[in-house]
């Protein structure tokens, strides 16, 4: 039963290459079933153990090659994506807060220059930020397909909290309006509200687009 021994040897090698893959057993089981079918078709052929091994590697791929495809699949997970976008959104807030405080403390000239430059292009920044939310929806759709819907909702709801929090803090004057001068014009506040309302539809449309690219 050289062919069965060769099959076992191939599967053992694959198992070894998959090392700590969480679905190692089920992956090996899939290839085991596949090789079973292949052997059922070819068992009358006389081959040496090496020839069988070579055939398996030609048809399925070398165990190392197969294992690397499965490892690649592990690189993007819902959890990693969720935390990545949460962190990216938080990074915008942290960077914005640091710049605001540094500007208020009035310590360095270059910070005043950065502050002036950024506050003179609020609409461009707003568009870029909305682009970030579009990117979030697109990436989730592209990576997780239909399953990404719940991840999108969860990521959106949690990521939008700092935005709403900041808006409320400014609205109820817990954060003095003067901190954000010259940003807080009525037009800009109205646009911020409109942009916040539009965030989810933007995310959703981008998700649909990304989902189409998931195949």
């Amino acid at each position: 039963m050289i062919h069965l021994e060769a099959k076992e040897h191939y599967l053992q090698q694959l198992k070894k290459e998959l090392k700590k893959h969480p679905q190692r057993e089920s992956i090996v089981q899939d290839y085991d079933a596949h090789l079973y079918e292949l052997l059922a078709e070819k068992e009358d052929e006389k081959k040496t153990a090496e020839e069988w091994h070579l055939l398996f590697s030609e048809v399925i791929g070398h165990p190392k090659e197969v294992a690397s495809m499965w490892k690649e699949e592990l690189s993007v997970t819902p959890n990693k994506t969720f935390y990545l976008f949460l962190l990216m959104n938080a990074a915008f807030f942290v960077a914005g807060s640091l710049l605001t405080f540094a500007h208020l403390l009035n310590e360095y000239t270059w910070i005043q220059t950065v502050w002036r430059s950024l506050t003179s292009i609020p609409f461009i920044i707003m568009m870029l930020y909305m682009g970030f939310w579009g990117f979030l929806g697109y990436e989730i759709g592209k990576s997780f397909g239909a399953r990404g819907r719940s991840l999108l909702k969860k990521t959106f709801l949690i990521s939008v909290l700092p935005n709403l929090g900041l808006m409320l803090l400014v609205l109820f004057r817990i954060i003095p309006h003067e901190w954000f001068q010259p940003l807080l014009s009525t037009t800009f506040i109205m646009l911020c509200i409109a942009a916040t309302i539009l965030l989810y539809p933007i995310c959703w449309i981008a998700f649909r687009w990304g989902k189409k690219q998931s195949l």
Partner: protein, 113 residues
Amino acid sequence: MFNRELLKGSTSLIVLQLLAERDMYGYELVKELEKRSDQHLQVKEGTLYPALHKLEKQEYIECYWQEQAKGPARKYYRIIEEGIQMLKEKTSEWEQFVQVINKVMRGTEHDPS
């Protein structure tokens, strides 16, 4: 055999199309694809399973085990609602793409020079 690059990206669409017709197991999918394409399209069988797994994770297909009278149980794949929807969208996109490419490739036929 065609250049593998031409087939790349179409594997999932082909798998969804085959599964839209009937539930199949991995080996059967490979053989069916070879048969239908007169052996022109051959998916490296090792790549099929990560593709199936991805489609399952994306909730376009699902799997179930079926006991066999002879041999081990087989893992069958079946397309689900989202997969059918996606197949429709991608098929229409594919048909448009083929039309455009054909039009471009046939362009010289109408060239009077």
